[in-house]
Amino acid sequence: MLAVAALLGVFALLLAWPVPVVLSRAAWPSQSPAVALALWQAIALGGGLSMIGCLLVFGSSPAGSLLAATGALLPHLFIGPIPPEFGVVHLAALTLAAGLAAHLALNLALTAVRAERERRRQHQLIALLGDPLPGEPRTRVLAHSLPLAYCVPGIRTATVLTEGLIEALGELELRAVIAHERAHLDQLHHLVLLAFRAWHSALPWFPIANRAERSVALLAEMLADDEARHAAGDDALRRAMLQVGSGGEPGAYADSGGVVPDIEMLEARLARLGGPVRRPPRALRLAVVSAAVLIVALPIAALLVSLGGIS
């Protein structure tokens, strides 16, 4: 049991610090955003499972297995005496594991509820304020001069454009923007982003959570860009990005702290456009996918082994 706990602890530390740092500095994710996005999700899930699993296995070690520990402790949850083989450190580890799991789950639920409320409000407002765009289903146009495009995900989805955007862009560029927003909606990027946002807000002091959320947001933009390139071509997408990027009132929204897409992300997206589509070698992609599976499978396997006890 202690060996398993130690293994999980080392794994949790690796996934919490060196692995995300290496990944966020790597060059290949921009060439293969879908694979990179899968890896980030595996790291977050595997890291969380390892961290909680490590505490759980260590705390249960006096009883020899997770099930035996549950059997020994559950009857004494509210009334003593606690079985003498459990020391203060074991009980502290178990309490921490339960607290951490509850904290992460509650944060995810809270973030989801808040997002849903915000979405409902957005739908109400754009239904009253936006006009439908002829020929484009589920697309609304707002009468505002600032060029802006965004999407509202959920069961009901909407792509929102402004009149300023339509004025600033040609037909092909507009097609690129709409394809980009549709890709966000069709590929359910909001769910991935939501999970990482919840992780970040649950562990705000955790430096990697911030980096992970940013990387994931950028990868989602790149995936949406790939759909736009497919629909309208690289040049149209680049022109659209530059038009929209420079058309905003400079300084008017200077206090919009924490806004996800910023200039560095735009640069990274622009750098991918033009030239041949580069794909990382097949072997690398295969290795990354295997690593992603392993990262999640290892803590699960360790927990399953500990469930019945190790002789």
Partner: protein, 124 residues
């Protein structure tokens, strides 16, 4: 059969086009006039339902000192749109859960940097 959402929109369009407050009956008549022969009559009770929904959403205010109550738009359509745009642009990091934007707001200086970067890329 028009949905409640469509009716809300029609009611707001009438209210936005008038300066004075309107009663539910005025609105019913205005809607019938607007839709002409092709439209179908809307009952005053339906208009009242739509109005109370719009009041809850913060689009309509009701003057209670007169009988029947007079309704008017709280803000102009432009003001509502501007407010919505501010909400989308000013989202702090924990409020942006529902939306993804095509490109962030970029200042003129940053845009110039981007253009230079692209020129360099295309020259190389």
């Amino acid at each position: 059969m028009a949905s409640l959402g469509e009716l809300e929109r029609s009611v707001m369009e009438v209210l936005w086009s008038r300066d004075a407050g309107l009663t539910a009956n005025d609105l019913r008549d205005a809607l019938a006039l607007r839709d002409g022969e092709s439209g179908r009559a809307v009952a005053t009770t339906t208009v009242l339902t739509v109005l109370s929904r719009l009041e809850r959403k913060g689009f309509v205010t009701r003057a209670r000192e007169t009988r029947p109550h007079q309704y008017r738009a709280l803000l102009t359509r432009e003001e509502h749109t501007a407010e919505l745009m501010h909400e989308v642009l000013d989202r702090s990091s924990d409020r942006d859960a529902a939306l993804a934007r095509f490109v962030g707001t970029v200042s003129a200086g940053e845009a110039a940097t981007l253009r230079r970067l692209l020129d360099e890329l295309s020259r190389s």
